[in-house]
Symmetry: C2
Subunit: 116 residues, 2 copies
């Protein structure tokens, strides 16, 4: 990157990795929930319509393995578990914002279905 210009001239495996990470079903919405300040499993699950507990759990484990979130367990009664973004995860914010800005401008309110 030089002076705000990002070079796309060649294939980039880092970019491919980032896209494969962000592109997984639900991950974009889970990140958006975390960036909005949600930290609890149940709150994140409620934020994302249609997301099952099982898949949320799976995605959170993947994001933790990628160093994007941290899982904190507090010895309250009942035990309290919180998920927070690491620095690496927090810095995904510009991507999520850019997607939102584009979506607000270009996706109609009743979007055309994209086949899975």
């Amino acid at each position: 990157m030089t002076d705000g210009h990002v070079d796309f001239a060649d294939y980039c495996p880092r970019y491919e990795h980032a896209m494969s990470l962000l592109g997984k079903r639900w991950t974009g919405l889970i990140l958006r929930a975390l960036l909005s300040g949600e930290t609890r499993f149940s709150a994140i699950c409620s934020y994302v319509p249609g997301l099952s507990d099982r898949l949320l759990s799976e995605r959170l484990k993947e994001l933790e393995a990628e160093g994007i979130i941290e899982r904190h367990v507090y010895a309250d009664t009942p035990v309290r578990v919180e998920y927070t973004l690491t620095q690496r995860g927090e810095q995904l914010r510009p991507i999520v914002e850019a997607v939102q800005v584009w979506a607000d401008r270009w996706v109609p309110l009743e979007p055309v279905e994209v086949s899975p």
Copy 2:
């Protein structure tokens, strides 16, 4: 969006649609190829290691149906076909740039494999 702050307080179906579109396997790399200035089927295919003609063809059709690219056929000999971004597609550039910036900073050169 107000004053550069994007509101993530609630679930947004437009955002989900944008993410499902961008997150499909290969689509992020195909867009990066188009943003780099590639227009020919063969050039886009060469740009993305591992992408088959069949899948590139499928993805290009999807992007055309979404109004993100246009297919132009020129009556040369042999017939010349070019794919170019529409305004809607060109405005995905900030997203692709933000992914690249994050990947350059946070994805190691030998990335950990993400399961499909």
